[in-house]
Amino acid sequence: MTCDLRQLAAAIRSATHGIDSLADLVVATRDPVATRGIVHAMSRAEGELGHDDSLSMTRLLNDLESLAIEDDVTACCMMPYLWELASDVLGAHDITNAVDLWLAQVSDPRIAVHVQYLAEHGGDVYVREHFQRLVGE
């Protein structure tokens, strides 16, 4: 993994998805571990900005939805990890619900890799069960 995750995160953060960043992102999101790292880096960046968890999740979703306008599959590769983070934030149901809608709407083998990954390696049993249900469908 040669990409600078923070740089990618910053690129997404600023919603300036230059082709280079997006290309890097496409590469990065082939790897579940790297993709999870990107999303977590984005989350940490939000925290450093002083945003509370709820606002951070909202902003992350907005970023990914902005990315989805350019590349919905790549964005949806990252969204499961946003679901994982948001599922641990009290009341962040709108975030997880939105991610669920995206994942129901956009289907691609690249996305399935991440769903499968979280079904096996989700942060806790609740996360794993959620994605196991998605895998089973």
Partner: protein
């Protein structure tokens, strides 16, 4: 941890009998309850208790063995003449209960003294004890509504009236859930006047203990009840909430600034001009706007909020810090989206000593102070009308406030509850809110501006209904969350905090209440404002 009894409540509870009696009378008379007094339809005695048309709002002695209430027939609407109503209203949900009361009245008004109640949950035996005397030309009134929901509870009380006004003092209550022992206390009334009734709800698990006495000026509203509670040994916190009183000295009963009228869904407050002394009506408390239906709602649920909150803080065993008491409160006092009811108190909440185990009593007092005065105000206002309107009003409140009373709300498990809620698609936010409020849900504000309604059930699950606003997207995609929508979810009750919960703990349901993994099915279009 909540310990909720899964046994179904007795169907023939005294309170149910009273309510049904009231409703039956109204139906048979072909008149609305609020017009009873105008029709001269003073309710008849029920059991060994009595429903008095002149001030005593609702009394009924317990039919359980050991009770010994006495009562005279109801006084005329004018309120003159002496009458006595003894006994109390008990709802003993799953445990044995006993009640004893005695009362003696004198000329010139109505007097009553409270019962002594005790019961033991595990032991199955109860010891009722009560005594009290009342004399003088004043009026004493108190109706107690006890709801011993799932555990044992006990109470002992006495009152003593005096000349020139109303006299009452509150019961002393004590019980120990685990040990099954009862210690009934006694109250002592002197020449103070207290028009109130008590609504007790010990409705989660272990019963609490408390005693109260309060007083107010003659002919005026109750003020500042003293409330005490104990939090020892994992018990809940009991409290007394004054309800209603309508001092009618003589003449036509309506002399207030407004009346409460019943309708199918509940009670409305109708503002009218002052027509008399204004003893029990008048202006709202300083700083508060004119009475309106928000106040009605607040009153409806005030006692419920308190009990839920107190039961909530009582669940920590061993004691623990509550880092954000306001959040804790928000879970059970949710009807405050604009901070109306909490205005001026937030700082106190934030600085409140919150080590519940050590500060349980203070905490309960604080809460009483926090909500109590307004509740008292609302309560007093609720009697601003005819006695019988107040009677009906009380019954309606009891019906709304207690899930055990309304059979539709006494649902034992999440599956039944979600079926009982029915389909929500196409319903407006207010329609849904009304429905859920009727079914005993509490709500809190969601982080996305929506509302989260929750109702915990005896099976350990909580049904959550989230009414969400549409999600704004830069580019609309036609997704189901882009319109107002509703979610039905099921959450383990122990995962619910402050009326909300983590997304990962929720199981989505479709509009038929069937678990679904399809987010398009779990986004139920509805909840338009």
């Amino acid at each position: 941890m909540h310990r909720r009894n899964t046994k179904k409540p007795p169907r023939a509870s005294p309170l149910r009998m009273v309510i049904e009696s009231l409703e039956t009378r109204a139906m048979l008379a072909g008149v609305e309850p609020e017009s009873w007094s105008a029709q001269g339809l003073a309710p008849a005695p029920l059991g060994t208790g009595a429903l008095l048309s002149s001030g005593v709002i609702l009394t009924c002695s317990s039919p359980t063995p050991g009770s010994s209430g006495t009562a005279s027939p109801p006084a005329p609407v004018s309120g003159s003449g002496g009458s006595t109503a003894g006994g109390d209203l008990w709802l003993a949900y799953s445990a044995g209960s006993g009640a004893g009361g005695s009362a003696s009245g004198s000329t010139g008004g109505v007097s009553k003294d409270g019962p002594a109640l005790s019961s033991q949950y595990t032991g199955g035996s109860g010891v009722g004890k009560g005594s009290g005397t009342s004399s003088g030309s004043g009026t004493t009134s108190r109706g107690d509504l006890w709801d011993s929901y799932s555990a044992g509870s006990g109470a002992g009380g006495s009152t003593a009236g005096s000349a020139g006004g109303m006299s009452k003092d509150g019961p002393a209550l004590s019980s120990q859930y685990k040990k099954g022992s009862i210690a009934g206390g006694q109250g002592n009334g002197t020449a103070r006047t207290v028009p109130n009734a008590d609504l007790w709800r010990l409705y989660w698990s272990s019963a609490g203990a408390g005693s109260s006495s309060s007083s107010s000026d003659e002919g005026s509203l109750a003020d500042d009840p003293t409330i005490s509670a104990q939090y020892t040994g994992g018990s809940g916190i009991g409290r007394i909430t004054p309800l209603v009183y309508n001092p009618q000295s003589d003449g036509p009963p309506v002399f207030h600034s407004g009346v409460w009228t019943g309708d199918e869904g509940g009670v409305q407050f109708v503002q009218t001009a002052d027509t008399g002394s204004g003893q029990a009506g008048g202006d709202p408390p300083a700083g508060r706007p004119a009475w309106n239906n928000d106040d009605v709602e607040a009153y409806y649920y005030g006692p419920r909020w308190l009990f839920e909150f107190e039961a909530g803080v009582g669940r920590y065993d061993p004691p623990k810090e509550i880092p954000k008491p306001r959040d804790e409160l928000a879970g059970v006092v949710p009807t405050d989206p604009d901070g109306k009811y909490q205005a001026g108190r937030k700082q106190e909440l934030d600085t409140l000593p919150t080590k519940v185990g050590e500060k349980g009593k203070e905490f309960a007092w604080f809460m009483a102070d926090y909500i109590g005065p307004d509740v008292i105000g609302w309560a007093a206002k609720g009697l601003a009308g005819t006695a019988n309107a107040g009677l009906y009003w009380f019954a309606t409140i009891a019906k709304k406030a207690d899930p055990l009373i309304d059979g539709a709300r006494a649902v034992a498990n999440a599956a039944d509850e979600i079926q009982a809620v029915g389909r929500l698609a196409g319903k407006s936010a207010s329609e849904i809110a009304d429905l859920l409020a009727q079914r005993g849900y509490n709500w809190t504000r969601g982080s996305n501006g929506g509302t989260v309604w929750t109702k915990c059930l005896p099976d350990g699950n909580t049904i959550a209904i989230r009414i969400d606003p549409p999600k704004a997207r830069q580019q609309l995609l036609g997704y189901a969350d882009e319109v107002p929508h509703v979610h039905k979810e099921m959450v383990p009750t122990h995962k619910v905090t402050g009326g909300n919960y983590l997304p990962k703990h929720a199981k989505g349901l479709d509009d038929d209440g069937i678990p679904s993994n399809d987010p398009r099915a779990t986004h139920i279009p509805g909840g338009q404002r």
